[in-house]
């Protein structure tokens, strides 16, 4: 009995880790991907180098003329997601309409929760390519060609799917830099 408990204690972390991987995969597989512009990053982060820091360009419109844009921190705030203008080699920009999450669940065909969307800030990168990728992100931001693909599940929870710099994924940028 004691030995079984000990084995259970050893197996528990492995089950939990496998569950975390499965949950993340399931979320990506069962989500719709939306494209967001990225703004400048904060270069003061001490761990900078292991990830790119960015800020999503989130400019929601009010739900109707009388309504105001909700506050992601203090309000029960969600955004309806609709495809906007086309971005060459990337897809369609996402347009956002602000409203409460209870309204969004009933009225929007797709919606995202505002607070978790605002908190997406890091994209992990290979440390050996950090300087090159930081430069590419900066260039892309200046050209307004830095985009983040965000997978949003049916409950409105977002997860980072991919970063696109000037029409190229991070993997392609790294492969291009390493050469054939």
């Amino acid at each position: 009995m004691k030995q079984r408990l000990q084995i259970l204690g050893l197996v528990l972390p492995l089950i939990a880790l496998a569950f975390m991987i499965g949950q993340a995969e399931w979320r990506l597989a069962h989500s719709e991907t939306w494209i967001f512009n990225m703004q400048g990053y904060d270069p003061r982060d001490l761990l900078r180098g292991h990830y790119l820091i960015f800020q999503l360009e989130i400019e929601p419109k009010p739900h109707n003329e009388e309504a105001s844009v909700c506050d992601p921190i203090t309000d029960d705030c969600c955004y309806c997601l609709t495809p906007g203008a086309e971005i060459a080699r990337v897809g369609f920009e996402t347009e956002l309409t602000s409203l409460s999450c209870s309204q969004a669940q009933t009225t929007c065909s797709a919606f995202v929760r505002a607070e978790p969307l605002q908190s997406l800030r890091r994209f992990y990168i290979p440390e050996s390519h950090r300087e090159m990728l930081e430069d590419r992100l900066f260039e892309a931001q200046r050209a307004r060609m830095a985009h983040l693909l965000v997978a949003v599940d049916e409950n409105g929870y977002p997860a980072i799917s991919q970063m696109i710099l000037q029409g190229e994924t991070i993997e392609s940028v790294v492969e291009g830099a390493e050469g054939p």
């Binding site: 204690g9 050893l10 492995l14 880790l17 993340a24 292991h50 921190i73 978790p116 997406l120 050996s128």
Partner: protein, 395 residues
């Protein structure tokens, strides 16, 4: 110095005879523990854990995410199997510490691969909870210290994140009250865990290290509490409810001390109670009395507390802690000089005076500490300490 050289010098001084030397050497060889081996193995296992974290942090590009995650899980399975097949001893201890680090590194790897954003306390709490069942199997002092360190980091990060969350949800006063209550209760949890029947019977290293950590927490919080005399505090800012509840918790713990640790001698109990009540009372005053920046009150309160801690550690038979506390009194006195006459240091006179004070304090500490220890030490503590290893050995 090797024990043989020590024994020879004692023999030359006429303190012990040849027969005693023989008995001591025989005892030492029978009870010899490979401390160097333990230390090297401990450092090695920590280095491997740090290496795992560094490799994951580097996020090397050549390996795909799926391969990284698969390799990670395979490594976890290999470690778990190795632990399950190992018997109690140094190898098992190292494997448990490695597995402990592996779980944290794996949580980091998953966060990295899927670009997950979350507060650090979530990852640390998940790590501490998931590893709790197998880390309770650790028996050695090194593994216990690693686990205690991990718990303390989780505790501290969780506490700061909780206060941040309270900031968004409650007003300043309610937030400060909650923070003071949580802070006051935290070291008591470590002390209670250290004196559980299971802990003292089966995990004496946990018991010893958590006991020390708890008392260090009480001492640190008391010093920080009276440190609030250094700032301005208006009536509206004072966490009076929190301070009252915190003091009540410490009084209740002091009252229940004989039941919590039945092995404490009367003097040890008196010493530890004085730490709780002295620290609690002075911190309480600092947190409930509206004050301007009362630097002198802050400095004097900290000096009083350090003196109480030094006296209490002697009562409890903790000689090393006594010397640390008296050393801290000297350092605190020097800091008072810097606080009061700090501007003088820009002059030659101030530098000479400061230097002379520093030398006098260090000489005084070296010369007087042992004499003071002997004078303050009650005659029966030495015999208590030698009779009760649970107390004497804690130093």
């Amino acid at each position: 110095m090797k024990i043989e050289r020590k024994l020879k010098s004692w023999h030359d001084a006429g303190l012990i005879d040849e027969a005693a030397i023989g008995r001591i050497l025989e005892y030492e060889s029978e009870n010899d523990r490979p401390i160097a081996l333990y230390a090297i193995a401990g450092v090695g296992s920590v280095a491997i854990v740090l290496g795992l974290v560094a490799i994951i942090a580097a996020n090397w590009a050549e390996i795909s995410s799926a391969t990284k995650l698969s390799l990670d899980l395979c490594l976890g399975i290999a470690l778990a199997v190795a632990i399950a097949r190992s018997s109690v001893g140094l190898a098992r201890e190292i494997l448990l510490v490695l597995y402990y680090g592996f779980v944290l590194a794996s949580i980091g790897l998953i966060g990295q691969v899927y670009h997950l954003e979350s507060e650090p306390w979530r990852a640390l709490t998940a790590w501490s909870l998931l590893t709790l069942p197998f880390m309770l199997g650790v028996r050695g002092s090194f593994g216990s210290a690693v686990w205690l360190s991990g718990l303390l980091v989780t505790h501290a990060v969780g506490f700061f994140d909780l206060v941040e969350w309270l900031e968004a949800s409650f007003d300043f006063r309610a937030r400060a009250d909650a923070a003071v209550i949580l802070l006051a209760a935290s070291p008591l949890a470590y002390l209670l865990f250290s004196r559980l029947d299971w802990t003292t019977r089966n995990r004496p290293n946990f018991a010893s290290e958590f006991w020390y950590a708890g008392w260090a927490g009480i001492a640190g919080l008391s010093l920080a509490g009276v440190g609030s005399f250094y700032g301005n505090a208006d009536v509206a800012d004072l966490p009076r409810t929190g301070a009252l509840v915190g003091l009540a918790l410490w009084i209740a713990f002091a009252y229940a001390l004989p039941k919590i640790d039945t092995s404490l001698s009367d003097r040890a109990r008196l010493g530890l109670r004085s730490v709780l009540l002295g620290g609690g009372a002075l911190s309480f005053l600092a947190l409930v009395i509206p004050h301007a920046s009362w630097d002198l009150a802050g400095a004097l309160s900290q000096l009083i507390l350090l003196t109480v801690f030094a006296w209490a550690s002697l009562q409890a038979g903790y000689g090393t802690v006594f010397r640390i506390c008296t050393g801290a009194v000297c350092i605190r006195l020097f800091i008072i000089y810097l606080e009061v006459f700090g501007s003088l240091l820009e002059t030659g006179f101030g530098l000479i005076l400061g230097g002379a004070l520093a030398i006098a304090l260090s000489f005084g500490w070296v010369r007087r500490t042992k004499a003071l220890e002997a004078r303050l030490q009650p005659p029966d503590v030495a015999s208590d300490a030698s009779a009760s290893p649970t107390e004497g050995d804690r130093t």
